[in-house]
Symmetry: C2
Subunit: 105 residues, 2 copies
DNA sequence: CCCCTATGTAAGATAGTGCTTAAATACTTA
DNA sequence: TAAGTATTTAAGCACTATCTTACATAGGGG
């Protein structure tokens, strides 16, 4: 999870994720969306995202097609949602925990 | 959102968020949970989290009590969930967009 | 008032990140 | 197999983050 959250902390990488959200995109096409930065820089971001499990890659002849790996976000999404969820869930959790403690005695 | 996601990318800060999830905690009590790092370091993490809108502070005499600000996570949670949500949502979004484009013509 | 506790701020060392240019790898096509 | 296209890897550099120690601030209690 740590790697995934670190990866998502960068705005360029978030933009990349948005670009591949709806299907496969070639590295070059991705790089074209960032006129401000060089292709190698984008390539490095792709490596970070891939290594974090957030992207999958496939070779298609010359090109490399990247796609979103939603599973990679599962843990991170879990944490965020856990923190973000409101008091109702909190009370529920507390109740369950207390129940477990009761059972353990 | 950028600041919130960057803040959450650090494991120590995530641990802090977990500690304040269920209620207010004094800075010193938080620091005690991290024997490996100094109190000032924790204080700096608290500043980052507060500045990102993820924590709220309140003075209580000598001490400062920190609490989780769930609202601060809203945007970040939205992004993650948006990326993490499965193809059903995706198709729905595509349909809506197409509908909008139709309407715009 | 003086001292103790709780906490934050400042300054500096160190490590990590993200960018760039140059070179390497890999596939495609004539 | 030579040349072209797509992409990654390498090396180096500037900027940022995180930690540490030393100091400053602020409230509480004798």
């Amino acid at each position: 999870m740590d790697e995934a959250l670190r990866a998502v902390a960068d705005p360029t990488r978030r933009a990349i994720l948005l670009l591949v959200r709806d299907g496969e995109v070639a590295a070059g096409d991705l790089a074209r969306h960032f006129p401000g930065i060089s292709r190698p820089a984008v390539s490095q971001h792709l490596r970070v995202l891939t290594s974090a499990g957030l992207l999958g890659v496939r070779r298609d002849g010359n090109r490399r097609l990247y796609r979103l790996r939603r599973e990679g976000l599962a843990e991170a999404a879990g944490f965020i949602q856990d923190m973000w969820s409101d008091r109702l869930d909190l009370l529920k959790r507390a109740a369950e925990q207390e129940e477990n403690e009761q059972g353990a005695r």
